[in-house]
Subunit: 301 residues, 2 copies
Amino acid sequence: MSDVNDYLNGRRALFDRVLAESLPPRETPPQIIHEAMRYAVLGGGKRVRPIVAAAAAEACGADITPLLKHLAALELIHTYSLVHDDLPSLDNDDLRRGRKTTHVVYGEAMAILTGDALLTEAFSWLGEPLPGVDAARQLRAVREVAVAVDSKGMIGGQAADIEAERSELSADPEALARLLTFIHQNKTGKLLTVSLLLGGLLGGATDVQLAQLSAYGKALGLAFQIVDDLLDIEETAETLGKTAGKDIEQGKLTYPALFGMEAAREHVTILLEEALRNAAMIGGPVNYLGAIARYICERRS
Amino acid sequence: MSDVNDYLNGRRALFDRVLAESLPPRETPPQIIHEAMRYAVLGGGKRVRPIVAAAAAEACGADITPLLKHLAALELIHTYSLVHDDLPSLDNDDLRRGRKTTHVVYGEAMAILTGDALLTEAFSWLGEPLPGVDAARQLRAVREVAVAVDSKGMIGGQAADIEAERSELSADPEALARLLTFIHQNKTGKLLTVSLLLGGLLGGATDVQLAQLSAYGKALGLAFQIVDDLLDIEETAETLGKTAGKDIEQGKLTYPALFGMEAAREHVTILLEEALRNAAMIGGPVNYLGAIARYICERRS
């Protein structure tokens, strides 16, 4: 485990640096929004999405150095989704990554614009021409990312989640399971899956490798969400850096709430095996995908 | 004037159809967000941005038929900005295009997500490969659009506008004029300018034509905003379909408020001349750019 810890810490520091250098400086006018963007993005975070994207590109044999800014764009999208989710009219969270949420510090209006700006900035980074990468492939990457986070993807999952919280839920366990699967697959699954696809596309993956990266991403995305839900129940606010037990309090539909802790843990094990199987098939000279999957499924925070 | 009226009505109907056919059907799950997206986009609107983009492509000699969905993406971006601007924590508008604003009908949370979804959908449309258009040029178009509406563009203008409303304004007329110019150029100017650039890029413009389209767009964008501000003062809520006189009531920084109605009207005339000059230089077999500029500067609503 110490190996993968070092690797992940190194990569986290690398992407922290790329983000700090690539975001507009705080003095850029209008200063207020650039301060807020940097506050939201540079306040910690595991950088899981760029890290798995880089691991995917590496497994396909690519030098990741020229791709870093493009892969870091995934973190802008992830952060924008958090900034908007935390707003008073959505999840109403005051705490995120152990710090005050963006709207608590900068006000609601600026937090909405900050999320908008981060999403837009992501497409600006993704659209920067990459020497050595075929433009048609890069255009496909832009489109794949947009589709993954649109109203049938990440935002659709978020909309379904909010709807579920506000309506009388069906008593039919199968209908509930279908709804939960929809929310998980979209709200967190699709951005994680497309992160692997982005790494593969920009890293020169073959079509077979792209399919394996997608299968790996799907399994890992769902496992990641179930582990998050398990941690939300098990952990205290102090360890987690966000308001814990909030899911249950809000009557949120989660995997452990629906199927029980035991079944949730078993499902994570099955998903981890699926991820490991695909990671092994991708091959590659440097392949951390298996180690990352293990780490994500066995993490305690 | 009747010629350009017919032309604009035809184009408006064309883009209304393209938008209705290209947006996800309302039954797409989750239904609520697709209903809200269609409500926000399909509730009228002049479709100015796709129309000028199409006119630009046409002036460069292109057949616009294969480009329509890509050009319509501009309207998604414009609509997203309106949906977010109208939110209670921003401009707090209940009425838009003569109808209830999205958050009044669907609630604040869903309106935020609807704006997010429209912005994302725009990049998904822009990323669809266009046969016959060079992929590198299309990638450049994606990036130009993103940069025009990022935190140094449209969103930056909106952030500066909100800051100006909330702070004690400088008493120095030059400082005020600089701030006003920044807001105008960014909040409305850049999306309009990039609309012309998008039409030119996808329509096969030469570099000289791209520069002329940009100059035309800059002049037209500012004129458009000043005319809007003039109309806000002159018109009643009934004619305009939005809450009139609101700018003055909210102490908004506008061109007529700062320089007077007379000077504002004169400035529109100068900008129109600049737009007409560039429109004429672009040439082209079918060139409605001049007629559109005239129409926009002389409109009464």
